[in-house]
Symmetry: C2
Subunit: 463 residues, 2 copies
DNA sequence: AACGGTTCACATTGTTCA
DNA sequence: TGAACAATGTGAACCGTT
């Protein structure tokens, strides 16, 4: 406020200052101190006689006098953002990030969307409110047609008006093989069925109208752990704030490094991510989903709905009225059960392909790659889906080797590593339980007379 | 040192005291303060005028005056243990822990071992130096025959002289089925083969001679992360100490709680553990393995060696010279490949049973339970073992959905949880890769003419 | 450039445990 | 008596908006 002589010295403690903070010239530490304490209700107590001389050394001793001096030299608590303001600011940052990404990442000709900027709130009366207009998130000099809002591009209105189509498609498609499903044609059997099926259908968009029954990802903070922001918006008890703080702190202490499988995996992910240009500007700071990420997730969710449609029709097309599979002369089937079961998966795979076609990233691949991806991934996806319905209840491995394993890991790895390694192994074990059932099912479909007696007893095969 | 009046008040700050510390009556905090700072060379500087009044409040402000007062009231820095003393003390604690565990844990008649106590060093001259001898880890009043050193009990000399036996056993056993393996008899086919096999063999002990090629668990600290204790023994540079501190800090910040799968799993483990009486004295603080745990692990390692023996003989017994399976009229095998493969596992299961019989916990079960356990667990164990040889290299899931998944989790779960959840899911996915191969193998053994054309193309079945 | 918030590493303290 | 721990506050460095 005054002249330039003391503009370099903190009015509170005398440390070197950089400029005005909350209405007065202060150092960085006093700035932080004021932000942290000016709004809090804690009544500090002076350990001396309320006349503490605040210096760079003594400023830590008496918060009471330090805060008092802050106010004295003109710092104003109304320059501190309210909880609400902070949330808004965070949102804004998110949006801008997304815009910037859209600008850098996606070069193809998406629809141009008008930017709806200016969510200005101007709620606080500090005089720092207008540096601006100079720095728009996307370079102002470039033509506005370069500014694409990817959220809008892949929003629900865009993904519209096709569910009916694909629903009815489904009815007529159940008899087709992969090729047919992928290209929308009805050719019966061909050289490469998959390829034919992969040819795009006239309109390749998606659902609207059922959004409510599945989580979708809008631009809010609800996805974050609900211990801050929206919840304790304005002024909750200090206790609540305190515990919120604690939880946050807890959250913050994510262990970062480990020369374990973890880190290797993470490294792999990072590399993968680097190749993913469209999200490449993510700086790793915010935990919230940005818009590009949300958009992708929404796409997946919508595509996934294809898997939720009733399966009856698909199956009835494969099985005759007598409950046997159509067109199979029973006589020549030495091992009918296994073959039938295997063939059943054809139905599921058809549905998977339909789902895949709703994913943009999939549609944009060349057919070569699409086929390869389907071949490589469909079994795994089917298994994943079957796992989704599993309700684990029994506990076979009744001994305490679980515990022993954990102790061993604890003694070998430091800290977090042990815990996560342990959990990973536990996961593996439960995975095996699952796998076990499937293998036994497989065995059940084999003629017992041909199986080793040992195996018959182990698996209770004679019945 | 004076009378009893001020024996309850800290001579430094006036806080309540518990007793003498380093030669004077002090509170806990001043005791810690003195321990931390009396030996360090940092020259504190009084921010005031060297006449600070030290109270419970002000003691934090001036370390210089606080430390000075410590010395003034008679605290002596030579009462602080040297680095070397500390290391010795730690070792002693370890030993004592082990002894106590041996005392409580194993009630059976192990060999009685003479206690080799008295590693006393008596290096410092404070008069508090010999509470010692009084607090022997095991109650001194109990007879010494109760004091068992489990380490010695299950050490390598004990685990001796039987590998030859089981090795030669193996040769003659390859032709037997489970029952035979488990009971040592040679009866060919019986009602319950498993049961017969489960009858104990004459001598059920274990290996010696190959210890070097597998990790064993001896009573040392090497298993701990090597960033403290032994390393910085006496007086290393403060820098080194600092970084060591940092690493420790890092390690320390293991997140403890989470209402996630993690915690649920942990809870389950804890319950299981509670039922495990022999390790029940573990208090959960030290990361090192105690002796009981080491013993169990050693047992597992030894048992596992049964799985490392050459497999040739086992297999040759099943397959004829022509490479076909023995005793199978090819004509009636409509689906020979699958059956053969399944039968192959019989060999592996035999080996598993041999392994299981080397585990005490298994031997001590009733046959009923042994059979049940084998039935329930053998498939999973086989799969686990097959996974051990897997060398993951290809990367099918080439898109960046890994990354997207991680971001989603980060936005949904707080902190560590996200990371571990993510890793668990990644694990699942790689698990699926594995599973995938197996299923495809299974498909390959089915007559292609009976399989849906769609599946044939997906899995490249025609070849 | 100015100035808000955010993050994080860090130092220190005092308490509890063994 | 030391080890381990949890809690706290601090301040530097940074990010992003205006
Ligand atoms: Zn200042
Ligand atoms: Zn004061
Ligand atoms: Zn004191
Ligand atoms: Zn002083």
């Amino acid at each position: 406020m005054d002249n330039k002589t003391d503009s370099k010295i903190c009015g509170v403690c005398g440390d070197k200052a950089l400029g005005y903070n909350f209405g007065a010239v202060t150092c960085e530490s006093c700035k932080a101190f004021f932000r942290r304490n000016a709004l809090s209700q804690k009544d500090f107590r002076c350990p001396f006689n309320h006349q503490c001389d605040i210096t760079t050394v003594t400023r830590r001793f008496c918060q009471k006098c330090r805060l008092e001096k802050c106010f004295t030299i003109g710092m104003r608590k109304d320059c501190i953002m309210s909880e609400k303001d902070k949330v808004l600011k965070r949102q804004k940052i998110e949006e801008n990030r997304a815009k910037r990404r859209a600008h850098n990442g996606f070069k193809q000709g998406f629809k141009k969307i008008k930017r709806e900027t200016s969510i200005d709130e101007d709620s606080h009366d500090c005089d720092t409110s207008d540096y601006g207009e100079l720095y728009s998130p996307v370079d102002q000099n470039t033509n506005t047609k370069d500014q694409q809002n990817i959220v809008s591009v892949i929003n629900y209105n865009e993904l519209n008006g096709n569910e009916q189509v694909s629903q009815t498609q489904l009815e007529s498609v159940t008899q087709l093989n992969i090729s047919d499903i992928l290209n929308g044609s009805n050719s019966a059997v061909e050289e490469s069925m998959i390829r034919t099926m992969l040819t795009p259908t006239p309109n390749g968009s998606v659902v609207n109208g059922e959004e409510s029954d599945r989580p979708t990802f809008s631009n809010n903070n609800d996805l974050k752990c609900n211990n801050n922001s929206n919840t304790d918006y304005v002024n909750i008890s200090n206790d609540a704030k305190q515990t919120a703080k604690v939880v946050l702190e807890e959250v913050r202490s994510t262990p970062v490094e480990a020369n374990s499988i973890e880190s290797i995996l993470c490294e792999a992910i990072k590399l993968e991510f680097e190749a993913y240009s469209s999200i490449a500007t993510y700086k790793g700071n915010s935990r919230e989903l940005n818009d590009a990420e949300r958009a992708k997730l929404n796409e997946l969710i919508v595509a996934n709905k294809a898997l939720l449609t009733p399966v009856d029709d698909d199956i009835s097309s494969l099985i005759g009225d007598d409950g046997r599979f159509k067109g199979k002369p029973d006589a020549i089937l030495a091992n009918p059960a296994l073959v039938d079961v295997i063939n059943l998966t054809a139905v599921a795979i058809r549905r998977l392909i339909k789902m895949a076609k709703k994913i943009n990233a999939f549609k944009n691949m060349c057919q070569e790659d699409q086929v390869a991806l389907l071949k490589g991934g469909c079994t795994e996806m089917l298994m994943l889906r079957s796992l989704m319905n599993y309700d684990e209840s029994k506990q076979i491995w009744s001994n305490s080797y679980y515990y022993l394993l954990r102790r061993y890991l604890e003694s070998t790895f430091p800290g977090c590593e042990a815990k996560s390694t342990f959990l990973k192994l536990i996961q593996k074990i439960s995975e095996l339980h699952k796998l076990n059932e499937e293998v036994i099912n497989c065995y059940l479909n084999v003629n017992p007379s041909e199986v080793e007696p040992l195996l018959i007893e182990i698996f209770d095969l004679k019945h």
